[in-house]
Structures are given as C-alpha cells and as structure tokens.
Amino acid sequence: MLSLPTTEQIILDCRSELLNTIDPAVAEPAVKIAIQMMENVLRNCATRAAHEIAWMTEETATMVAYAERVAASAEQRAGVRSALERFTAQRSSSLHLDDVARTYHLASACLSAALDTAMAEGDAALAAEGRAIIQQRVATELQIMGEWSFVGRG
C-alpha cells in the first residue's frame, strides 16, 4: 500500500480545499456554517487517524493495570474480576482498528468496574488513581477536539 502521504495529510489537504476553494465560493449562511463544522470534523478525523491506535493501546494497558490493582486489594472484587476475565478471554492482538477498539472497550469496562469498586469501598487512594486515568482519557479527547466552539450560535 501507499503509506505516504499519510491519512492525516490527505484529510488535512481536503480540509484546506474546503476552506480555501469551496468556502469562498459559497454565500449561503447555513452552508458556510456547515463548512465550518466540516472543517472541524475533518481536523478531528486527521488527529484520530494519526494517533488513535496508539492512544487506545496505551490507555488499554493503563486501565487494565489499574483494574488488576483494584482486584488485588478490594474486598468486593467480583465485578472487577469478571471484567478482567472477559478482557483476557476476548482481547485481540490485531492492529486493525475495529479490533483495537473492541479490546479498548473491554479494558474500559474493566476501568468502570474498578471505579465502581474503589468508590463504593471509599478507598480514597484507589479512587484518586482511577480519577487520574479518566482525566488522562479526557486529555486525549481534548487533544482530538483541538479548538472547538459552537459554530453558528448567536
């Protein structure tokens, strides 16, 4: 396959065409707003195309490691253990995007179960650790989002 230009470059090139060729030729306000929205969506897609497999893989490892720590120390560990067993049984080592996403979802379920346990047991240290992982997930989302505003409002 052709790996260069990258998917990110191609999408950003389309975005550039949209902004520099199509937008100036459009006068209709509703369509101009749609173009601004599409610009944003394309920018988001470019960032995801460049990084999402790596980001999901890294987060998967972090979430599962946390769930294993909760399962090792919590008293009510059945939910976390069950999620971890599902992860172990169904995870995939394939790097195809759908497979990486499915494995990521299994790991996310481990994190959810671990957070439920840590919060229910009032374990402040484990709860804080879980919150830090969530904050990292949101930091990644914010990186994908980039600059964003409610286009067309007001």
């Binding site: 969506v41 988001n44 996310s108 379920a109 229910a120 914010l142 409002r153």
Partner: protein, 342 residues
C-alpha cells in the same frame, strides 16, 4: 420544512385554515441558522386584511438526521401553557402541525421576536458593558425559577421529592453509560461522586435546561424572551445555574465569571433561596451535574450513528460537545472538592 421550495405555499394554506377568516400569503421563507437540535425557519406573512407579520417555524429534522430526539408534542403543550399563563415572557404559539402532514414535519409555528439573541449582543459589545447584561440574565433565570410548577402541572410531570429526583438525575449518568455502544467510565465515576456529595435540597422548580444566551431573545423593548424549551422539566433550579456556567465558559463570554459572588447574591435575592443552598460550592456541583440532560441526548445520537441508525453533520460535529461535557463533569467534581470554593 424539509422542502423549502414548497414551504411558502404549504405554510400559507396552513395559516389560512388556522385563521378561519383571512387569507395568508408567505412572501419570504428562509432557513434560520444557529439551531442545533431542530430545524428553524423564518417566514414573512402578508394577510388579506393588509396586516403583515413574521413567524418562526420550529420542526423536526428528517428521521435519522437528528442530533437529539425530543418530543414536539410535549414542547408544544409546554409553550401553550407558558403562553396561556403569562408566567414568563416567551414567543406565543400561533399553530402546530402535530402529524407533519401539513408542513412536512412535526412543526410548531411561533411569533418572531424582533430583536437579537443575547449571545449576539454579547458577542458584539465590549466586556465593560456586560455587567448590566449579567444582572438581566440573572433576573431572567430567577424568573424561570419563580414560576409556580403547579401552573404547568398538566404538561410537566412533578417528581415526588427532591431526593428521588436527584437520584434519578444522577442515575442518568449510569443509564447513559449502560445504553451506549461503548463503556464510558467517566460517567460511572461522576455518578458515584455526585451521589456521595449531594448538596442541601431546594424546592423543585421549572428548569429550562438549555439556559444560555443564544436562547434568550432580547426584544426591541429590552425584554428577555426565553426560547427553546424542549429540554424543560421540573427539577433543581441550580441545574440552570450550573449549565449556564459550563456553557458560557465554553462559548464565552461567561457573565458568571465577571463577578461570581455578585451573580449568586443577585440570584439569591431574586429567588429567595439562601446561601446554604446557593453558593460557590453548589455552583461547582451543578456545573458537573447540569449538562447531563443535553449530554445524554447527544450521546444517544452518537450511539445511533455508530449503530448505523443515524447520520448527519450535526451528529459528528457535536461529538466534541461530549468531550466538553466530560471535561466539565470532572472540573465540577474537582471544584467542589477544592477548599477554595467552600
């Protein structure tokens, strides 16, 4: 509404039949920009008796093209009740097509407000002038929260009590997670956190639930007319405080941030709520909680797209609103924990 070319004729026939005496002619019809969840259009109408008026149409997008599913029947009933009772300034309903067979989709026809959205006014004026708008905004919010819920008892269900309501609202974080196409640990964390940090209760009141300056039309007399009531419900009035704060922080300018203490003091004065219930800490709490109604609708739209049941630019574009929501949920938790807000 999905066929703008046909709309002048269809709308004219609809209005003529509704009026029962005069004949309507629609001389201009154009889509309005800025509405995210519903289709909006503006129509200039000339009546056979020589009068003219401007009307606004608010209708459902085509099936599978909506970023959020809300009930037009319920919204229409609420708008009628608000208009009939006169408890708040809001554009009057002129007609409703409940089947969508007259106007092409379920559609509410309301009077046009001659003026500007408060958001446009804020965008076009210097920050130094915004304190007056902040006071007016607080007054409008307090006016919504001063409506007697009993006046709207027929159209807005009243929860049994504050605790039941709050637990149900917080549970929407969990149900949103459970109903989504992928696990959302942030929602599970925030739900558990909110349950363990409940604020002092307040009487349940009418909550607009999308209280933002784009939904406040400032008419030519300077009167605030609240629009877009589709998410309104009976709930904790502080939801609107928190929602306004997170929305304005994202879009700007944030009139609460101009003078937080003054903003809350005026709100308390206008509503009669005390400082134990309305303070910086409860503001932070509701800044985490309040967006769940709108958030869950957007998340449902994203899930529908992932399942191949929905499509459209608005759904993909508002995926970032989910990220903003996650960020605000966590920021609200952190601010409530912060001793500085106590």
């Amino acid at each position: 509404m999905h066929d703008p070319e046909a709309m002048p004729e269809r709308l004219a026939a609809f209005l003529t039949e509704l009026d029962g005496g005069r004949t309507a002619r629609v001389t201009a019809y154009e889509a309005m920009i800025g509405g995210y969840s519903r289709l909006m259009a503006r129509a200039d109408v000339h009546w056979s008796d020589g009068t003219t008026e401007v009307l606004v149409l608010r209708g459902d997008p085509p099936p599978g093209k909506s970023m959020a599913e809300t009930d037009r029947d319920a919204e229409h009933a609420l708008l009628r009740a608000l208009g009939d009772s006169g408890v708040i300034a809001t554009p009057r309903v002129r007609g409703y097509d409940p089947q969508g067979d007259r106007l092409g989709t379920k559609c509410i026809v309301i009077e046009f407000v001659h003026g500007q959205p408060l958001q446009a006014i804020l965008n076009g004026t210097e920050a130094a002038t915004h304190s007056t708008h902040a006071e007016a905004l607080v007054d409008s919010m307090a006016a919504v929260h001063s409506i007697d819920p009993g006046v709207l008892a027929e159209v807005l269900p009243h929860p049994p009590d504050w605790h039941t309501y709050m637990h149900g609202l917080i549970d929407r974080f969990r149900s949103s997670d459970e109903g989504h196409v992928e696990p959302m640990p942030v929602l599970r964390y925030v739900a558990a956190w909110l349950e363990s940090h409940l604020p002092p209760p307040l009487p349940l009141r009418v909550v607009h639930s999308d209280f933002q300056p784009a939904n406040i039309m400032v008419d030519t007399d300077g009167v605030h007319q609240m629009v877009d009531w589709e998410f309104a419900h009976i709930g904790d009035p502080r939801e609107d405080l928190g929602y306004y704060n997170v929305y304005a922080a994202a879009l700007g300018p944030n009139l609460f941030a101009l003078d937080p203490d003054g903003f809350l003091a005026r709100y308390r004065e206008r509503t009669g709520f005390d400082e134990a219930a309305v303070n910086m800490q409860t503001m932070a709490y509701f800044s985490s909680l309040a967006a769940i109604s709108v958030y869950s609708q957007i998340l449902a739209g994203a899930g529908a797209m992932a399942r191949g049941e929905n499509s459209g630019l608005m759904t993909t574009y508002t995926l970032n609103a989910l990220t903003v929501g996650h960020s605000n949920f966590l920021a609200g938790c952190a601010a409530t924990d912060d001793p500085e807000t106590h």
